[in-house]
């Protein structure tokens, strides 16, 4: 498997993990934050499907996922959403590096979308304006 395929497979697996996570996260949110979580899950699902379609053997979703930490409140749900988006962004950033041409553009689009979602969830958590200089850079 080439480095590009490896990076894309990792990113697709990250999308599956994010889809699972939003099922947990959304159950603790209401109002606009819940709407963002619902839209984020949809975005991840669409992205997973679009990229997987282009792969000869896309990775299968895992049977079991574990949240990064217990999600028991609005605050922990928002923190989990930020963590999920940061991890997903890091995977797409790696995919940008490993690819070229149209695939690189698609990976960059995914990184951009993830960065915007991450900043939005940070703002819901009270971190204003919620931006960071290098989205996708693992801390």
């Amino acid at each position: 498997m080439t480095s590009a395929n490896t990076a894309l497979a990792a990113a697709v697996s990250g999308e599956d993990a994010a889809i699972y996570a939003y099922g947990v996260i959304g159950s603790h949110l209401t109002g606009p934050a819940l709407a963002l979580a619902v839209q984020s899950e949809l975005d991840h699902r669409n992205l997973r499907d679009q990229v997987a379609e282009t792969m000869p053997s896309p990775p299968a979703a895992s049977v079991i996922y574990r949240m990064p930490f217990p999600v028991t409140s609005v605050a922990t749900a928002l923190a989990a959403a930020v963590t999920v988006e940061e991890r997903s962004s890091a995977l797409w950033r790696a995919a940008v590096v490993a690819t070229t041409g149209n695939v690189r553009q698609a990976a960059l689009n995914a990184l951009v979308a993830g960065a915007i979602r991450t900043a939005s969830f940070r703002r819901f958590a009270g971190d204003y304006p919620g931006t960071v200089p290098f989205p996708g850079l693992s801390s």
Binding site: V97, I116, A119, Y128, P129, T131, P133, F134, L137
Partner: protein, 157 residues
């Protein structure tokens, strides 16, 4: 040329034995493919400074965004193998100020935010273009800069 490229690579890698570079080289900025992006970044920082001077109510929003750009300028300088630009940290939200969006009721605020959003949108396009054609050693930083600028557009609008 090989020696220059080598020096840049050492600097980017953060090696402690990197050569001391005197100051940003006009020649390097003019010839490096990242030169226009670097210049655009420093101009953006100046625009933020002017906006914060004109509309101090926006410092809570614009201060952190300006700091993002200052870090971009430093990273681009590192990629190009030139000295870190002498751009000081700008004003940041005060500790006693509640973390809340500034009022958009003032015409000056609305105009400033719209102008900055337009500038950020253009800057995002520049970073995206640079990321698409950059070698692997540079693309990660450029991709993150493009993504950061997209978050700026989103929060300014």
């Amino acid at each position: 040329m090989a020696a220059i490229a080598g020096a840049a690579a050492i600097t980017v890698a953060g090696c402690t034995k990197a050569p001391v570079l005197a100051k940003p080289s006009a020649t390097t900025i003019a010839t490096d493919p990242l030169g226009p992006l670097y210049d655009e970044t420093t101009r953006l920082i100046s625009t933020y400074d002017q906006s914060m001077a004109t509309v101090p109510d926006l410092i809570n929003l614009l201060g952190p965004l300006r700091e993002d750009h200052r870090q971009h300028a430093n990273a681009l300088a590192s990629l190009m193998g030139i000295a870190t630009p002498a751009i000081t940290a700008g004003p940041m939200p005060s500790v006693s100020t509640p973390a809340a969006p500034p009022s958009a009721s003032l015409t000056g605020s609305v105009v400033a935010r719209a102008a900055l959003a337009d500038a950020e949108k253009s800057a995002q396009a520049s970073a995206t273009l640079a990321a698409m054609s950059a070698p692997a050693a540079r693309v990660a930083v450029l991709a993150s800069i493009a993504a950061c600028r997209a978050t700026h557009v989103a929060v300014l609008r």
